[in-house]
């Protein structure tokens, strides 16, 4: 399918694909096994100018949008959905600054992220604040020229590896979610440490950790937007980055599909390649249909967002749900096509099945996304 990408977008996609094939695919199984964080791959992305594709030009980026980010995530995820998350998680941590940072904050943080010198992370989730993000308990209290942070964030992608963290904390408990504020916290700030690194089912090359704040003092200039805007910062950021999760799912599915097709042509049973059995052919056809539909929805949603649209929670949720459910189905079917070999760690598809699962869970579970979509639908129809 021709998606009429611009010359520049085509170049980004090809370059990311080249990096995925030459640098990521050969190490994907090993990094998964060892849970090794891909600093070396991030260095390659940095040298290739890919780290800043979604960052405005005036801050050292390429000036692209969500589509450019998604193209990179998709291609990297084709080779490894965990390694790609070092890049995608940085996007998640950076968008609050792009969207709500003032010029000084952007000048200070974006160029280093664009050049790949620094990674970022986004901290919202806590033990008691998952789907119900309003349950955030971490507090930030203004004391002179500083905010003092206390609390623990849980399951933060790039936690411990990133240099720049955007964190949501409560500045006024009596106001509930309207009492949340978003802050930039730098690694190395006294009182800011990292808890345990999680041992996960999939995306094992990604690092997921606790962020621990114990009387952590940050300059008040690190407040993003205004006090009380934290929940909005988080929601607007996630609306924009969900297509990134969708792209990750899309890439994982594409990679699994390619393995399945390749294998089906080589594997001989009953004297013929298994690709000659209609049962296998139909699985492959269904995979291809779902992946293409998923890609069309992801790219179009990205374009819609990049066009300057104001409200796109529904579309963003739709593409995340569709692409992640597709990835789960396609990767499970890929294991089926490979049979017992598909279940073995020496073959790449069992990992893809494990990696796919997270895309249905994070940045809002698919149940929560369906809630969002339904709510928007009901709103739209009540206007008519």
């Amino acid at each position: 399918m021709n998606y009429f990408l611009t010359e520049e977008q085509q170049m980004i996609k090809e370059l990311a694909a080249k990096i995925a094939e030459e640098k990521i695919a050969p190490v994907a199984i090993q990094y998964d096994e060892e849970g090794k964080f891909p600093h070396d791959i991030m260095k390659v992305l940095a040298d290739s100018d890919l780290c800043g594709v979604y960052i405005p030009e005036e801050y050292g980026g390429l000036g692209g949008g969500i589509l450019e980010m998604a193209l990179v995530v998709e291609e990297l995820s084709r080779a490894c959905g965990g390694i790609s998350l070092a890049f995608a998680g940085t996007g998640l941590g950076t968008f609050p600054i792009i969207l709500f940072g003032n010029d000084e904050q952007k000048q200070k943080y974006l160029p280093d992220i664009a050049s790949g010198k620094k990674l970022a992370a986004f901290g919202l989730t806590e033990a008691d604040a998952g789907s119900d993000a309003a349950g955030v308990r971490t507090t930030a209290v203004l004391d002179g020229d500083e905010y003092v942070l206390n609390g623990t964030k849980q399951w933060i992608t790039n936690g411990g590896e990133a240099d720049v963290y955007t964190v949501v904390a409560c500045t006024n408990r009596s106001k509930g979610a309207r009492g949340f504020s978003a802050f930039i916290v730098e690694k190395g700030t006294p009182g800011f440490s990292f808890g345990k690194k999680e041992n996960k089912m999939g995306i094992r090359a990604s690092c997921t950790s606790e962020l621990v704040f114990e009387n952590c003092r940050i300059p008040k200039e690190n407040l993003l937007a205004r006090e009380g805007m934290g929940f909005i910062v988080a929601m607007k950021t996630l609306d924009r980055t969900r297509p990134g999760v969708a792209a990750q799912a899309l890439g994982i599915a594409q990679g699994a599909f390619e393995e399945a097709v390749k294998y089906s042509k080589q594997r001989v049973q009953f004297g013929q390649p298994i690709s000659s059995f209609q049962a296998i052919q139909h699985i492959l056809a269904d995979m291809a249909i779902q992946i293409e539909a998923s890609r069309a929805l992801v790219y179009q949603t990205c374009r819609f967002i990049d066009s300057g649209a104001k409200d796109f929670s529904k579309e963003s949720a739709m593409c995340k749900v569709f692409a992640s459910d597709t990835a789960m189905k396609v990767t499970t079917d890929a294991v089926q096509v490979l049979g017992g070999y598909g279940y073995m760690k020496e073959y790449p598809v069992e990992k893809k099945m494990r990696d796919a699962k997270i895309t249905q869970i994070y940045e809002g579970t698919n149940q929560i996304q369906r809630n969002v979509i339904a709510l928007e639908l009901i709103k739209e129809f009540s206007k008519k």
Binding site: I12, K18, S48, D49, L50, V53
Partner: protein
């Protein structure tokens, strides 16, 4: 430091197919790539430039389509690319190729160092680098695996040999040919790829570089290829398992039965 890197287009396959009648390589339908050894030459050129400043120019002699391969070298960070392309260059052997390249280097001018891959994967002669040096009257070192020092008018490098390496010093300008041990070539960067897209690839004819056409192409080539073939390897081999002592014992037994004179 002004550096010229010589680049050749080769078929992207190990099984080079030959036209039996003309004894030339069949290039149709085969993906064209940059000679893999030249990619190390490009990388080394870029690294020296990053260290000393200056320019890196990629130079190739070939058919007009080679311009696109040269464009990809700009994507890696090469500043400028020059393609020597003219009917007069067709059918060149290594001598005529070195002659044309030397005239190209003359026209580029002010060159401190020329880097070539140790050989091309299609012809495998390893002759063009040294011949080019001779044509230019420059010193040269082949099989360079490391540049220890490079500065104005001076280079010291390690030349790989079968059982180690030699340290060679030369005045500049000079020619070196490099082996794959010298570095790990980079991938292109987006900014350079964009520059490459817009870049003008200079195409120079024999007249542009003031080449004597009698020394170019088929006319200037004393080598005539009579016959080419891919050698068939039909050696039967057997791996002997076990620890060193066992292996030695089994090997000795084998050799005894083969009626070769065995020492000791």
């Amino acid at each position: 430091m002004n550096i010229v890197v010589c680049v050749k287009q080769v078929p992207g396959t190990m099984e080079v197919k030959m036209n039996k009648e003309t004894n030339t390589i069949i290039r149709e339908g085969v993906e064209a790539i940059i000679n893999p050894f030249d990619t190390y030459a490009i990388e080394e050129g870029l690294r020296i430039k990053e260290q000393t400043g200056g320019r890196v120019t990629a130079l190739s002699m070939g058919i007009p389509a080679v311009a696109e391969l040269l464009r990809s070298t700009i994507g890696l960070g090469v500043d400028e690319a020059v393609l020597l392309s003219d009917r007069a260059f067709a059918g060149a052997d290594t001598l005529a190729t070195a002659y044309a390249l030397s005239k190209g280097v003359d026209k580029i001018g002010n060159v401190d160092l020329i880097i070539c891959g140790k050989q091309a994967t299609d012809g495998d002669t390893a002759q063009v680098g040294p011949s080019l040096a001779e044509k230019l009257g420059y010193p040269h070192t082949t099989y360079v695996r490391k540049i220890e020092e490079i500065r104005d008018g001076y280079i010291r490098c390690q030349r790989m040999t079968e059982d180690g390496y030699e340290v060679v010093e030369m005045p500049l300008p000079a020619v070196i040919t490099v082996v794959k041990e010298i570095n790990e070539p980079r991938l292109p960067s987006l900014k350079n790829m964009m520059r490459a897209k817009k870049a003008v690839i200079n195409v120079w004819t024999a007249d542009d570089i003031g080449a004597d056409k009698n020394l170019c192409g088929l006319k200037g080539s004393p080598t005539q290829v009579v016959k080419t073939f891919v050698p068939v390897h039909e050696i039967e081999s057997e791996m002997i398992e076990g620890d060193a002592a066992e292996q030695a014992k089994k090997l000795a037994e084998k050799l005894m039965t083969m009626k070769f004179p065995v020492c000791g």
